[in-house]
């Protein structure tokens, strides 16, 4: 190995001191043959660098290709994402309409309760205990009303009315499960006019949880089909849904 190439390499790899570098540069000017060797060294290093860059460009071009053209797995992922997005949109739309329907049925029920069930009529002919319970209900003393209606539900003479009023008390007090139990019990009774199913539908509409709205709709349709108590109201409500 020649000393020249070692010397030249040392210059370009920064292995020379400032004085040595200066000597190197002076020699380039003074020694034509040495300058030629430096030129050859630079040409070789430049060419190797060019080769390396070309090699790297090719690698990057492959990478570019991969990034520009989505692979099958990428396509599948994209398609999956689109499918998930579409499903989410559908669910959101269903959810939104369901929410609107629920809030609408709640509004209908709340309006009906406020217009018709805030104050119950003090009917003549009902027992004193029932009258006291109704008074308590009208003054929104629901615990008192419950206490008064409860024993009357066990007496055959007062049971249907007491069960109805007790159910309405629970409904007004937002004790929906207890209200539904009473209206179910009322609906199972053999009465000439039975508001049990109508109040059950009303309670489900007011509660509007889970499948309440679907159940209420089914009951309202049943009331319409059989022309039961409240069927005109049921037609009106069904049409609003």
């Amino acid at each position: 190995m020649s000393d020249s190439i070692n010397y030249i390499d040392n210059y370009f790899t920064g292995a020379l001191s400032d004085i040595e570098k200066s000597d190197f540069e002076k020699r380039c000017a003074a020694d034509q043959s040495f300058a030629k060797e430096v030129a050859e060294y630079i040409s070789m290093r430049d060419a190797i660098n060019e080769y390396l860059k070309q090699q790297k460009r090719e690698d990057l071009a492959t990478q570019h290709q991969e990034l520009s053209t989505p692979s099958n797995s990428t396509k599948i992922i994209v398609l999956k994402r689109i499918a998930y997005l579409a499903a989410a949109c559908i669910l959101l739309t269903i959810g939104w309409f369901s929410f609107l329907r629920h809030s609408k049925s709640q509004l209908i029920a709340a309006n009906y309760i406020s217009e018709n069930l805030n104050t119950l009529g003090l009917n003549m002919g009902v027992s004193d205990s029932l009258q006291m319970g109704i008074t308590a209900y009208n003054s929104k003393s629901y615990t008192e009303a419950e206490r008064l209606f409860n024993p009357l539900t066990h007496r055959p003479a007062t049971a249907p009315e007491a069960i109805k009023y007790l159910g309405l008390t629970y409904l007004a007090d937002k004790q929906y499960d207890a209200a539904l139990k009473n209206f179910d019990q009322l609906a199972s009774m053999s009465l000439h006019i039975n508001p049990g199913l109508f109040y059950k539908a009303l309670t489900l509409m007011e509660r509007s949880e889970g499948t309440d709205w679907q159940q209420a709709k089914k009951i309202l349709q049943q009331i319409i089909d059989k022309k039961l108590y409240g069927y005109q109201q049921a037609i009106n409500w069904i049409n609003q849904f």
């Binding site: 190995m1 020649s2 190439i5 070692n6 390499d9 370009f12 540069e25 380039c28 000017a29 300058a35 030629k36 430096v38 030129a39 050859e40 060294y41 630079i42 040409s43 070789m44 290093r45 430049d46 060419a47 190797i48 660098n49 060019e50 080769y51 390396l52 860059k53 090699q55 790297k56 460009r57 990057l60 071009a61 990478q63 570019h64 990034l67």
Partner: protein, 194 residues
């Protein structure tokens, strides 16, 4: 999924070793969107934009390895600046008809490391059309020699090359590397003297 930060890429490239290539690819991925931007902003063809972007990434890698990137700006700004300059250069070359790079000394030539006076002396001697012959002869010096020279040109120092290519010491690498250069020189001289 691990988020790759600019810092991780910088450290990965600087650290060298086998994982450097991996971080170079990540750098390429990171600002890949610049290609699309150049197409829109400068009306450059996609292939040209991709080529300019490749050259940008290669220049950035070289500067990181040579520690010329001092981290005064973010890597994003640095890449963007180089990429923009290269795009403008491309447009300028188009309009001024100066597209023939083959006739000029490469912008990153070693000759630019010489002071002005010495550079002009050496530039006059450099045989410009010799480059193609050297590139061809590079394939004739043996795979190991070629790999060693390419690794050195890629910014790996003799110590790193020794570790990678299983040489005993950095000094052995240096001696081997210079012998490989002489071998290449000999091949070229044989051609030119014919």
């Amino acid at each position: 999924m691990v988020l790759i930060t600019e810092h991780m890429i910088l450290q990965g490239i600087k650290a060298g070793g086998a994982s450097r290539r991996n971080y170079e690819q990540k750098l390429y991925d990171l600002f890949f969107y610049l290609i699309r931007e150049a197409e829109k902003k400068y009306g450059i063809q996609p292939e040209e934009a991709a080529s300019v972007y490749s050259d940008t990434v290669l220049a950035v890698i070289k500067n990181i390895v040579a520690e010329k990137f001092e981290g005064n700006s973010s890597l994003k700004t640095y890449c963007y600046q180089i990429f923009t300059n290269k795009c403008v250069d491309l447009l300028r070359k188009r309009t001024t008809n100066r597209g023939k790079m083959e006739d000029t000394i490469p912008y990153d030539s070693l000759v630019y490391e010489l002071p002005d006076e010495t550079r002009s002396i050496i530039q006059k001697i450099i045989v410009k059309d010799e480059r193609q012959q050297i590139l061809e002869k590079l394939n004739e010096i043996g795979d190991k020699c070629k790999e060693l020279l390419l690794m050195f040109e890629d910014g790996y120092n003799d110590k790193e090359i020794a570790a990678h290519m299983k040489y005993n010491t950095a000094d052995v690498v240096k001696t081997t590397r210079l012998r490989c250069l002489e071998k290449l020189k000999l091949k070229i001289t044989t051609i030119t003297s014919k």
